[in-house]
């Protein structure tokens, strides 16, 4: 085997497979984590019967999916019906070879200098599967779900892309590795780009059809939306694609705004150089930091789902077009001027101030409320 073959084909493939397997485990585990956390937040216990604290649910669910009968509606468009669940899987998995999990070059499968563009292009093709599946089911609810998903994807892809522009202007590169390296020498981007970070957070919820924006699968209106007619493993594929896409967006969020695998700002702390000097363990520590951050954002999805009620469709469109896009454009404008003037520090002060003010608002002293049922006890 020639060294070139090894360098450009074998090693990237091995790295991708390892990342892929870890992602699969995380996706399977998320199913349990989400249901359990959701239960705890809703004053119940969640799945706790299978194994210790219900942990074997991770194994039980896939077994159930495999053993279930795979029903194909007789009036469905067969080829498109089969393609539906497969199509969103491919981009969702492919993206993981572009994401740096730890200090490069070891912990990234393929370093591309336009990685961010590629990721955006790949993830937005995920909606094809949903539309195709919704249409091929030959069911009005499925079709409505697919259409809604398409409309939502189109409107939120715009603020999603625009919110990244500010980060690009600051770091001057589409390369995720360079963006992370920029953040460790300067501040993490959520400080400099607090507005963009917020828009990204909202848009990534909308992109993944997660709860405040889960209109494509709104149970109260559309049965289950685009996957109404899907059962067994095909349904599992839709779920897998959704959770993989969530994971991708969390990875993006961490890489773009929260310093990727590093745990330091302004060149202080656990930066890439420090991690590299510790050899293998440093690299693995970097991966662990990255995973911890990603899992924190996955929990954020669950937290949002437990908290927010679903938007109406016109409210969703209002938020996207009337608030998010102008806000993102304004953010680009302001960031552009400040970058031109070379005064990035202003952005840090603005972001830090916003965070401190929000914290003051949240933890402000408030009167203690006694629940009516407790009054008689006291």
């Amino acid at each position: 085997m020639s060294p070139l073959f090894l360098k450009y084909l074998v090693w990237p493939l091995v790295k991708f497979l390892i990342a892929f397997l870890i992602v699969q485990v995380i996706v399977a585990a998320m199913n349990w984590v989400e249901r359990r956390t959701l239960g705890l937040m809703q004053a119940r216990l969640g799945p706790n019967r299978v194994g210790w604290k219900g942990l074997l649910q991770i194994v039980a669910d896939p077994i159930k999916f495999i053993l279930k009968e795979d029903i194909v509606p007789s009036s469905s468009e067969k080829v498109a019906y089969f393609l539906g669940p497969m199509l969103p899987l491919i981009p969702a998995f492919l993206v993981f070879c572009l994401i740096p999990f730890g200090p490069p070059p070891t912990y990234i499968a393929a370093r591309v200098n336009v990685a961010l563009l590629l990721i955006l292009a790949l993830t937005s093709t995920g909606v094809y599967g949903i539309i195709l599946g919704g249409w091929a089911s030959n069911n009005k609810y499925s079709l409505m779900g697919g259409l809604r998903s398409a409309a939502q994807m189109v409107s939120y892809e715009v603020p999603f892309g625009l919110s990244i522009v500010g980060v690009l202007m600051l770091s001057g590169s589409f390369d995720l590795v360079k963006i992370v390296r920029y953040q460790e020498t300067n501040a993490w981007n959520f400080l400099a780009q607090i507005v963009a970070c917020f828009i990204f957070l909202v848009a990534m919820n909308a992109e993944n059809n997660r709860t405040p924006f889960d209109l494509p699968e709104a149970e109260s209106e559309l049965v289950a939306g685009y996957h109404t007619e899907y059962s067994a493993m095909k349904f599992a594929f839709f779920m897998l694609a959704e959770y993989s896409a969530m994971l991708v967006n969390c990875c993006l969020m961490v890489s773009l705004f929260f310093g990727g695998w590093t745990l330091g700002m302004f060149g202080v702390g656990l930066t890439t150089d420090v991690l590299r000097s510790w050899g293998l363990w440093g690299g693995l520590l970097g991966c662990a930091i990255f995973t911890a951050k990603v899992m924190a954002f996955m929990m954020m999805y669950v937290w949002f789902r437990a908290t927010f009620p679903r938007f109406r469709f016109d409210q969703l469109m209002d938020l996207g077009w009337k608030w998010m896009i102008p806000l993102a454009l304004g953010n680009i404008f302001v960031t552009g001027i400040i970058v031109l003037a070379g005064q990035e520090r202003l952005l840090y002060w603005f972001g830090g101030g916003a965070i401190v003010l929000t914290a003051f608002y949240l933890f402000r002293p408030r009167p203690k409320v006694v629940h009516a049922s407790r009054v008689s006890e006291a």
Partner: protein, 173 residues
Amino acid sequence: MQVEYPKPSWSDRFLLLDFLEGLRTTWRELWKPKVTIRYPEERIEPANRFRGMFRFSFDRCIACKLCAVACPIDIIYIDVHDEMREVDGKQKKLKVLDRYDIDVKRCMFCSLCEEACPTKPKSIWLTTKTYELATYDRNDLYFNMQQLEYWEERPETTELPGGELPAIEGEAR
């Protein structure tokens, strides 16, 4: 009726701080203890006034049939015969119970039989705190007086996951 909602202030509309309040609420809810009782493993003891399964006492019963009269759906079946017995050196005619059956499957647990019972303490009462009455056969819910009296020592027909028998609390009165 026209309901007037408080108009959201500018900061509420734009900064979405209410969303943070919502997140704070769910976060606090996450750490609160849950009220769920995992039934086969955990049980709650019913309150003292809880009406559970019947208990009957043959020794206290004077066979007056008042409970059977009081029963609104007539599910108490009593047979009695007279017997001459020596009580305190005199021959007395006493009523002796032959049959005291309750068709519990039709019972509504109204406790009127208990109220009608003239003995003190009551010879038929419902406050046993036993509520696990399910059987596989509806005829298993027809109880004769031995079964009614020794209901709590009956052989277990259902097995619990832990293999442990349920702890049945003593009667309230």
